[in-house]
C-alpha cells in the first residue's frame, strides 16, 4: 500500500488535532493554524485525487489492527477525494471572505474558539466523506451538528441564539432517526461496516424475510439525513440560521454542512443499501416529491422575502430540493446531476453570501432591499460577485448552474415516468429564481441620487476581493469546463458500485 493511502486518515486527524491546539492559541495564531491546515488538507486531497485517478480504483484503509468484519475502516475513491478537495477550497475562500466581518461581529476573546469549531467541522466533514463505518458516521454527524451549532451562535445576538436552538432541535430529531435506523440496520445485518452490510442486505432481499423492517431502517436513515440537510418541509430553522450568523458561518453552513449530510446519504444509498434495492423501495418517490415541493416553495418564500440574506437562505431550500429530485429520479444520470449540483451550489451559494455581506456593509448594515439600492456601485467587487452568483443560480450558460440544470434535464428526459413533473418544476423554479435574483441585481445597480452611504475601494479589503475573485473563477470554471468534473464524478460513482 502506497504512503499516499494514509492521506485520508491524516487529513481527518490533522484537522481534529489542530482544533484541539487552537484552544490554547491566541486568536491570531489560531487563524494561521486554521488557514495552514485547510490548505494542507486541500493539497493532500488533491494529491489523493490525482493518485486515485491514476490507479482507477478505490482503496480501503484499515483503522487499527482488526480486519474487516470487526475493525473500523476508511474508504477512499475518486468522488471522496474530489469532494474533500472541493470542500477545502470552498471553506478556505469562505473563511477569507468573512474574515473582516468575523473580527467585527465576534468578541475578540472568542476568535480562537471560532477556528476550533471550523477545524472540528472540517474534520467531521472529512470523516463523513471517508468513513466506511455507519456508527462512525453517526458520531461524526453529531460532531458536525455541534460544530455547526457553535458556528451559528458564536455571534451572540438574540436571533442567532434562537436559530441555534431551533437548528439543534431539528438536527437532533434527524440524528435520532438516523441513529435508530443504524441500530435497526445493525440488528438486521449484524454489521456496521458498509460493505458487509450491503452483502447482508442483498441476502435479506433475496430471501424475502425481514423486508419490512429493512425498508423501515432505510427509511429512518434517509429521512433522518433529509431532515438534517433541511429538505422541505424541515427547513424552518434554516433562514434564521443562515440569515443572521456571521457570514463565514452562513457560507460554510449552506455550502458544506448540509452537503456533507447529503454526501453521506448518497454513500448510504450506494454503499449500504445498494442502488438497485434503494430504487425498488418507494422511499425514492418520497424524496422526489419533497424535492419537487422544495424547488417551488423555497423559491416562492424567497420571492416574498424582503431581506437579502434570508432570501439567499430560502434559495438554498430550493437548491437542496434540486439535489433531492436528482436522487429521487433513481437513475445514475440523476445521481450524477445531484452530485454535480452539490458542487455547483456550494460554489454559487457561498459566493452569494460573501458578496451579500459586502453589499449590506455599504448600505448602513441594513439588509432590506430598499437600502441596498445602488450598493453595487459602492462596493464594486461585491456587486460583481453577487451578479455572477445570481446568474449561476438562475442557470445562465457559462456559469456552474447551467451545467447542473442541463444534467438534471438530461436525467429527467431519460426517466419517462418522472419527466414531466421534473421539467415543470425545474421550469417554474428557474423562472422564480430569475425573478428574485435579477430583481436584486437590478436593485443594487440602480443609482441612488442622495448617496447617504460611503463607498468602499477594492484595494481596501484585499482578502475579501481575492476570495470573491476566486469564487467567481470557481463558478466559471465549473460552468465552462465541466467535463473533467463530470467525468470524475462518474468515475467516483462507478467506484461506489
Amino acid at each position: 500500500m502506497d504512503f499516499i493511502c494514509n492521506f485520508p486518515f491524516f487529513s481527518i486527524l490533522i484537522s481534529l488535532f489542530s482544533g484541539t491546539i487552537c484552544s490554547v492559541l491566541p486568536g491570531k495564531a489560531a487563524k494561521w493554524v486554521n488557514t495552514f491546515v485547510i490548505v494542507l488538507i486541500g493539497a493532500m486531497s488533491a494529491a489523493l485525487l490525482w493518485y486515485l485517478l491514476g490507479t482507477g480504483e478505490s482503496f480501503v484503509y484499515m483503522m487499527g489492527h482488526f480486519p474487516a468484519p470487526w475493525g473500523n475502516e476508511i474508504r477512499a475513491g475518486v468522488l471522496e477525494a474530489a469532494t474533500a478537495l472541493f470542500f477545502c477550497i470552498v471553506m478556505l475562500l469562505s473563511m477569507w471572505g468573512g474574515r473582516k466581518k468575523l473580527m467585527e461581529e465576534v468578541e475578540p476573546s472568542k476568535h480562537n474558539l471560532y477556528y476550533i469549531l471550523v477545524n472540528l467541522l472540517l474534520s467531521s466533514l472529512l470523516a463523513l466523506i471517508y468513513t466506511n463505518d455507519l456508527f462512525t458516521a453517526y458520531v461524526f454527524v453529531e460532531i458536525n451538528t455541534i460544530a455547526a451549532c457553535g458556528l451559528i451562535m458564536i455571534r451572540q445576538i438574540g436571533r442567532t441564539l434562537e436559530a441555534a436552538v431551533r437548528y439543534m432541535i431539528m438536527s437532533l430529531v434527524g440524528s435520532g432517526m438516523l441513529l435508530i435506523g443504524i441500530c435497526m440496520m445493525y440488528d438486521l445485518t449484524g454489521h456496521l461496516l458498509m460493505s458487509n452490510i450491503q452483502e447482508s442486505v442483498t441476502a435479506i432481499i433475496e430471501e424475502g424475510t425481514y423486508v419490512i423492517p429493512l425498508v423501515m431502517a432505510i427509511a429512518l436513515m434517509v429521512i433522518g439525513l433529509a431532515i438534517k440537510s433541511a429538505l422541505f418541509p424541515f427547513h424552518a430553522w434554516l433562514p434564521d440560521a443562515y440569515g443572521y450568523s456571521t457570514i463565514s458561518s452562513a457560507a460554510i453552513l449552506s455550502s458544506l454542512v448540509s452537503k456533507g449530510y447529503i454526501f453521506l446519504l448518497i454513500k448510504i444509498i450506494y454503499r449500504v443499501v445498494g442502488f438497485r434495492i434503494f430504487h425498488d423501495t418507494h422511499i425514492i418517490n418520497v424524496l422526489f416529491v419533497f424535492g419537487l415541493m422544495a424547488m417551488i416553495f423555497g423559491s416562492l418564500s424567497a420571492i416574498k422575502e424582503n431581506d437579502i440574506r434570508r432570501m439567499i437562505a430560502f434559495s438554498s431550500v430550493a437548491q437542496i430540493g434540486y439535489i433531492y429530485v436528482g436522487i429521487g429520479l433513481g437513475t445514475q444520470v440523476g445521481m450524477l446531476a445531484s452530485v454535480y449540483h452539490i458542487f455547483a451550489h456550494a460554489a454559487g451559494k457561498a459566493l452569494l453570501f460573501i458578496a451579500a455581506i459586502g453589499l449590506t456593509d455599504v448600505s448602513g448594515f441594513s439588509r432590506k432591499f430598499i437600502d441596498l439600492t445602488g450598493a453595487g456601485y459602492r462596493n464594486k467587487i461585491a456587486g460583481i460577485g453577487f451578479t455572477v452568483g445570481s446568474l449561476s443560480m438562475v442557470g445562465v450558460p457559462v456559469f456552474a448552474g447551467f451545467v447542473s440544470k442541463l444534467l438534471f434535464a438530461q436525467a429527467a428526459v431519460n426517466n419517462v415516468g418522472k419527466m414531466l413533473p421534473t421539467l415543470i418544476a425545474l421550469g417554474i423554479s428557474t423562472i422564480l429564481n430569475a425573478i428574485y435574483f435579477m430583481k436584486t441585481v437590478i436593485r443594487i445597480y440602480t443609482p441612488r441620487p442622495d448617496a447617504p452611504y460611503e463607498s468602499v475601494a477594492i484595494g481596501k479589503e484585499k482578502l475579501y476581493a481575492v476570495s470573491i475573485v476566486l469564487f467567481i473563477a470557481l463558478n466559471i470554471m465549473l460552468g465552462m469546463s465541466s467535463q473533467p468534473v463530470v467525468d470524475a464524478i462518474h468515475a467516483g460513482l462507478e467506484m461506489f458500485g
Binding site: V403, A409, I435
Partner: protein, 492 residues
C-alpha cells in the same frame, strides 16, 4: 493557433472593446469615448466582412461537455443576418454619438452596445443549438442595460418584464433542446433536420409538441402572440438608438432561432401539414392583425412603432410558417427591409425627441416644416413598410403573398395574403398621419413659432443611409433574392 481562429475576431474585438469601456475610469473628454466606440465598431465591421469571405467557415471554440461543443459555422442565413446586423449597428452607433449627449452614463451605454454587437455576431455564426442558446441568453442579459438605461422606475420595470418574458421563452427553447438531444443524431444545424428517424418512430406527436414549444419560445423574442407583451413596454423606454436596434435587430434573433429550429433541426417536412404548422400560421396571422390594430390606436410615437414591430415581425414568421421557398425568400427579404425601416423610424422618433422633446403623435403637427429632411426620410420608409413600390417592403410582401398562394393550404393560402393586405392598410393608417400632420398641419396652425430644427449631420446621415438602402433593396431585389434562393433551396 489555428487558421480558423480568425472567426473569433469579430466576436472578441467588440466584446473586449466594450469591456474596456466599462472598466475604464470615467473620462471627462467625450471625444475619447466616442473615438474608442467608433474604432471598435468600424474595426468589427471590417472584420465581419473580412471573415465572410474567408475560406475557413467553421471553428470549435471549446467543449462545454464532451458532446456539446461551442461551435461556430458561417452559412448563407448567417451571412444575411450578420450583414444586416452590421449595417444597422453602425448606423445606430453613429446616431447615438449625437443623441446620447442628452442622456447620462454614456460610457455604460456604448460599452454594452459594443458587447451586444459581438454577441449578435456570435449568435449569427453559431453552428449548433447549444452555442445559439448560449449567446441567445447572453444577448438577453447584456441588452437589458440598454433597455433600462434611464433607470427610472418605469424603465426598470420594463427591463424586468423584458427579462422575464425572455427567460420564459429561453427556457421553453431549452426544454426543446433537452428532448432534441435525446432524439437526434447531432445538435449541429444541418439543412433538412437532424432527427434520428429510428428513435422518433412512434413519438412524432410528442416531438411535434417539442417543436411547437421551441417555436413559441423563440417567438417570445420575435414578439409573437401570446408572448408579445414585453415588446411594447420595453422598446419605447430605451434611448432611441437603443430602441432602434432592439426593434430592428434583437427581435430578429428570435426569427433566426425559429429558422434554425424549423429548417435546420427538425426539418420543414417534419411539421408540414401538422397541427403545429396550422396553429403557428394562425398565431402569426393574429399577431399581424393585432399588432397593427394596437399600433393604430396608440398615441405615443415610439410605442406605436413598437406595436408596429410586433405586427411586422409576424409577417416574417408568417412567411416562415408557410414552409415554402418563395414565402421564405419573402421572409428573409423582410428581415432585411424591416431592420432598415424600423431602425430608421425609431431613429426619426429619437431625433424628434432630441430636438423638440415631443413624444406624442398629436404634438407633431408642423414638424415637417421644422425638419423637412428627417420627415422625408420618415415618409419614404413608411411607404416602404406599407409596401408601396419601388421600395423593399413591396418586394418582400409580394414574395410573402405569392408564397402563401402557392402553398394551396386550405383557407390560409388566400386568407393570409388578405390579412397582410388589411394590415398594410392599417400600417398606412398609423404611420402616415405623422407625415400628413407634419407637412400639412392645416389652416388653423400657427406657423410663426416654427424654427429650423433639422438635426445635424451625425444624426441625419445614418437615417438617410438606411432610407436609401431600404429603397435600393426594392429597386434591385434580384441581387438579394438570388442570393437567398441559392442558400435556402436545400431546405425544402
Amino acid at each position: 493557433m489555428h487558421e480558423s481562429m480568425i472567426l473569433m475576431l469579430p466576436i472578441l474585438v467588440p466584446v473586449m472593446t466594450g469591456l474596456l469601456l466599462l472598466c475604464m475610469p470615467a473620462v471627462k473628454n467625450r471625444k475619447v469615448l466616442i473615438g474608442i466606440t467608433a474604432a471598435g465598431l468600424i474595426v468589427t465591421a471590417a472584420l465581419v466582412f473580412f471573415v465572410l469571405f474567408q475560406e475557413a467557415d467553421s471553428f470549435t471554440f471549446f467543449y462545454l461537455t464532451k458532446s456539446l461543443p461551442v461551435y461556430f459555422k458561417i452559412d448563407g442565413i448567417g451571412r444575411i443576418f450578420v450583414t444586416v446586423v452590421t449595417i444597422v449597428w453602425l448606423s445606430g452607433g453613429a446616431f447615438a454619438f449625437e443623441y446620447m449627449k442628452h442622456e447620462t452614463d454614456e460610457k455604460r451605454y456604448f460599452g454594452f452596445y459594443l458587447i451586444v454587437y459581438g454577441i449578435l455576431v456570435a449568435l449569427d455564426f453559431s453552428g449548433n443549438i447549444i452555442t445559439f442558446y448560449l449567446f441567445y441568453e447572453m444577448m438577453t442579459l447584456l441588452s437589458m442595460p440598454l433597455v433600462l438605461h434611464t433607470r427610472s422606475r418605469e424603465a426598470v420595470m420594463a427591463g424586468l418584464k423584458y427579462m422575464l418574458y425572455s427567460f420564459c421563452g429561453a427556457y421553453m427553447v431549452l426544454y426543446g433542446v433537452y428532448f432534441l438531444f435525446r432524439f437526434s443524431n447531432t445538435l449541429t444545424f444541418t439543412a433538412g433536420g437532424v432527427l434520428n428517424q429510428e428513435l422518433i418512430a412512434g413519438r412524432e406527436q410528442f416531438l411535434l409538441f417539442v417543436v411547437f414549444l421551441m417555436i413559441l419560445g423563440f417567438g417570445v423574442k420575435a414578439g409573437m402572440f401570446p408572448m408579445h407583451g414585453w415588446l411594447p413596454t420595453a422598446h419605447p423606454v430605451a434611448p432611441a438608438p437603443a430602441s432602434a436596434v432592439l426593434s430592428g435587430i434583437i427581435v430578429k434573433s428570435g426569427v433566426l432561432g425559429v429558422i434554425r429550429t424549423v429548417y435546420y433541426l427538425f426539418g420543414a417536412d417534419f411539421i408540414r401539414g401538422t397541427w403545429v404548422q396550422t396553429t403557428w400560421i394562425w398565431l402569426t396571422l393574429f399577431t399581424v392583425f393585432m399588432g397593427s390594430m394596437l399600433a393604430y390606436r396608440e398615441k405615443l410615437l415610439k410605442k406605436r412603432l413598437a406595436y408596429s414591430t410586433v405586427s411586422q415581425v409576424s409577417y416574417i414568421l408568417f412567411g416562415l410558417s408557410m414552409l415554402d421557398q418563395t414565402a421564405m425568400t419573402g421572409s428573409l427579404l423582410h428581415v432585411i427591409c424591416h431592420a432598415f425601416i424600423k431602425c430608421t423610424l425609431f431613429l426619426c422618433a429619437g431625433a424628434i425627441i432630441y430636438k423638440t422633446g415631443k413624444t406624442r403623435v398629436d404634438e407633431l403637427a408642423g414638424i415637417g416644416k421644422e425638419m423637412p429632411a428627417l420627415l422625408w426620410c420618415y415618409t419614404i420608409v413608411s411607404l416602404a413598410l406599407i409596401g408601396i413600390p419601388p421600395t423593399g417592403g413591396f418586394v418582400s410582401k409580394w414574395y410573402l403573398a405569392t408564397g402563401a398562394l402557392r402553398t394551396k393550404l386550405p383557407i390560409v393560402s388566400w386568407f393570409g395574403p388578405l390579412v397582410l393586405l388589411v394590415s398594410a392598410l392599417l400600417t398606412a393608417g398609423y404611420l402616415l398621419p405623422v407625415t400628413i400632420q407634419g407637412f400639412f398641419p392645416g389652416k388653423a396652425f400657427d406657423y410663426t413659432h416654427l424654427k429650423k430644427k433639422e438635426p445635424n449631420l451625425t444624426m441625419l446621415l445614418p437615417v438617410i443611409v438606411l432610407t436609401v438602402l431600404a429603397v435600393l433593396v426594392g429597386m434591385f431585389p434580384s441581387v438579394v433574392t438570388d442570393y437567398i434562393v441559392n442558400h435556402i433551396s436545400g431546405l425544402f
